[in-house]
């Protein structure tokens, strides 16, 4: 037998059927529409379609959640020798996180994103630039509310010790709504500036400098006031919290739509920069709010009020505290305003309708449902695991009442183990973040392959892990956050001056990308638990360090690549050729 005959042979059984038999016959009277009819899907067919649809989406979240939670629990069980408490509720909580995130993300893609695209495409045609900017600003507030990770801030506020950090306690417990609003306002402002940048084609560098100046001034002011100093960690962490899976795509889709309408959407970099702004402005906003609060009320009053409240409320826990009802209410409250506002803009301002109403409604229901499920999981799953591991973590190097075997190691070895633990946690959590993969691909395309995807991913992950390790060290050793953050940002600014525009865009955005809805609550809860256990003033600050370190890592990597490129111009030429021939 000839090879060709062998290859040409069919491997599987097949039959032939004329397509003519399947298409409708032309109607001689020409009265019936030839449009194909609606398909009735049987239950088994539906199951065959739904199976892969659900499993793909669930697996995506499973891959993000399970390794992280597993790492924490295994570390707690094997290294710290501490039994896992409430294992069943943790398990249910984690399942809720996975299901909730999967449902929410699907709802976001099917329900909320079409709104963003339609509004972004049509708004600039029908409204003036001023109206467009106002709408984008309000939207910034709305998306912040809808961000899953923002719930974590509200959920963990009660764990702060009022006597040590009165203003922090006050902000997190009685000013939560203004706090989220002002963070949202910061994001809104960032979205407005980002859009102007899209249209005008501004460089990101001066924007970073100008945004950092007030941030540094306010930070300095708060740092000098001993009562306000404890607020810094929270304020700088807020920047990392805001840039999650809702804000970034929605604001981007709007901005790109508007830039296209203005005829300036060609630059491949136009998508960047919003994330950077959206992580700097909230810092400024929170600092301003806390200074405002400090003029309103004195620390003594806060402590007195809190003590009065705690002695009054200690009475039996209500139904609200025992059941997840409050989480569900929070979930609805997070999404509904955003949806209502988007509908208002679409129907009232644009006077247009939705192209595919049923699917959009389905998406909106999914996003609300997913948010509620995720919120339950946030409290009982991620928050509980993070808090539990964080609170036993110091057992590695100091005596803890809850852990009989502590201290497990000598102080130095224990500290090294704890910091190493944090380092690995950051590395793994970052590499698992799907958004980083996407950013890596974009960057590889932008730089014609000079900045490889894996290089970006590893430098970001390295940066985050150093940041988280530093943050844990801050809590354990108890050094001042500002004394680390300010020099790190100074390094960031110096690197920015010497970097090219592309790398500045990518570098500053990479920080926001890394802090997703799984990492943020886990790290926040761990920090707060650890902070309580070592009786630090407050447990915030880890996320802020985890944002600046990757910026530095990516920028220095960019500069290194630039230097290498200018030294070996021939080599890059071939690498570009190689990419094109692919």
């Amino acid at each position: 037998m000839r090879y060709g005959e062998f290859v040409a042979k069919h491997k599987i059984r097949h039959t032939e059927l004329s397509y003519n038999l399947l298409t409708p016959k032309p109607d001689p009277s020409d009265t019936k529409s030839m449009r194909p009819e609606r398909i009735q899907v049987s239950a088994t067919r539906a199951a065959a379609l739904l199976g892969p649809y659900c499993s793909v989406r669930l697996m995506e979240q499973l891959k993000a959640v399970v390794p992280l939670a597993g790492y924490l629990l295994i570390f707690q069980l094997l290294v710290l020798n501490h039994p896992i408490q409430e294992a069943f509720s943790l398990f249910v909580g984690l399942v809720a996180v996975i299901v909730g995130l999967a449902v929410f993300m699907e709802g976001l893609n099917v329900g909320l994103m079409p709104f963003g695209t339609i509004i972004g495409d049509n708004l600039p045609k029908k409204a003036s630039m001023f109206v467009v900017l106002v709408i984008i600003g309000i939207l910034g507030v709305g998306v912040t509310f809808a961000e899953p990770a923002i719930g974590a801030l509200q959920a963990f506020g009660s764990s702060v010790d009022v006597t040590k950090a009165p203003y922090l306690y006050e902000l997190l417990n009685r000013w939560t709504l203004p706090l989220v609003l002002i963070v949202g306002a910061g994001v809104g402002l960032a979205a407005i500036l980002g859009t102007i940048r899209f249209v005008r084609g501004w460089s990101l560098k001066p924007m970073i400098y100008w945004a950092l100046v007030p941030v540094v001034i306010l930070t300095g002011y708060c740092w000098l006031d001993p009562n306000l100093r404890s607020i810094l960690g929270l304020a700088w962490d807020c920047g990392a919290v805001t840039t999650g899976p809702v804000t970034v795509p929605l604001v981007l889709s709007l901005g790109i739509g508007i830039a296209n309408a203005a005829g300036k959407g060609n630059s491949s970099l136009s998508g960047f920069g919003v994330v950077t702004m959206a992580s700097l402005f909230p810092i400024m906003a929170v600092l301003a709010l806390s200074i405002f609060v400090s003029f309103q009320i004195s620390p003594e009053e806060i402590i007195a009020a809190a003590q009065a409240q705690s002695s009054a409320v200690v009475a039996e826990p209500t139904v609200w505290d025992q059941t997840p009802v409050s989480e569900v209410v929070l979930g609805v409250r997070a999404i509904l305003p955003l949806v209502l506002f988007l509908m208002f803009v679409l129907f009232i301002v644009l006077k247009s309708s939705l192209p595919n109403r049923m699917v959009t409604v389905y998406g909106l229901i999914l996003s609300i449902l997913g948010m509620c499920i995720f919120n339950v999981g946030l409290t009982y799953g991620l928050g509980a695991i993070g808090g539990q591991t964080g609170s036993v973590l110091p057992a590695a190097f100091m005596e803890l009442p809850i852990s009989p075997a502590s201290p497990i190691f000598s102080e130095v070895v224990g500290l090294i183990i704890v910091i190493g633990f944090a380092f690995l946690l950051g590395f793994g959590a970052t590499l698992a973040e799907p958004a980083l993969n996407a950013l890596g691909l974009t960057v590889q395309k932008l730089t014609n392959g000079a900045f490889k995807k894996s290089m970006l991913m590893y430098s970001v992950a390295g940066g985050v892990s150093v940041g988280i390790a530093l943050g844990i060290a801050k809590l354990v050793i108890g050094f001042d956050l500002a004394t680390v953050l300010i020099p790190l940002y100074a390094v960031g600014v110096i690197l920015t001056v010497f970097s090219s525009e592309e790398f500045v865009n990518v570098g500053w955005d990479s920080a926001g990308v890394t802090t997703g809805p799984v990492t943020v609550p886990l790290v926040l809860a761990m920090g707060l638990g650890l902070g309580n256990a070592v009786s630090a003033v407050e447990g915030f600050g880890i996320l802020s360090l985890a944002s600046i370190c990757p910026i530095i890592a990516v920028l220095s990597m960019g500069i290194y690549i630039q230097v290498m490129q200018s030294r070996a111009p021939k080599k890059t030429a071939t690498s570009i050729e190689g990419l094109e021939s692919e």
């Binding site: 040409a8 069919h10 491997k11 899907v41 649809y53």
Partner: protein
């Protein structure tokens, strides 16, 4: 007349495969294992069955990946079948594929390959 020269390849088939987004990678791998030289992947948006199924239509991604592979007539049906199986096209909602004849194809073909094939 220019001294440049075109070699026309005949007996060529084009296999086009429209897949739900995310499935292209596996299908490509299967095709390459059967001897396909290379492929072009492009992204597209599809309509059709999805819009006629009501709510269950959300299970089918609107985004499609289109894989186009040029194969020799002899290898084509084998590549076609391998791609069909790898993409699970025998289950609902995965995609559709077709094969068409190409009149002739031209590209850069190294001199030594042209001469050795002619013998």
């Amino acid at each position: 007349m220019s001294d440049r020269h075109i070699v026309y390849l005949t007996d060529v088939k084009l296999i086009t495969c429209v897949l739900q987004s995310g499935l292209a990678e596996e299908v490509l791998e299967a095709a390459k294992n059967c001897g396909a030289q290379g492929a072009t992947v492009s992204y597209a948006r599809g309509t059709g069955v999805r819009d006629r199924m009501g709510l269950i239509g959300v299970t089918i991604d609107e985004q499609k990946e289109v894989v186009r592979i040029i194969a020799s007539a002899e290898q084509s049906s084998r590549v076609f079948e391998a791609m069909y199986l790898a993409g699970d096209l025998d289950t609902p909602g995965k995609g559709i594929m077709y094969m068409s004849d190409l009149e002739h194809v031209a590209t850069y073909i190294p001199e030594n390959i042209v001469s050795s094939a002619g013998q």
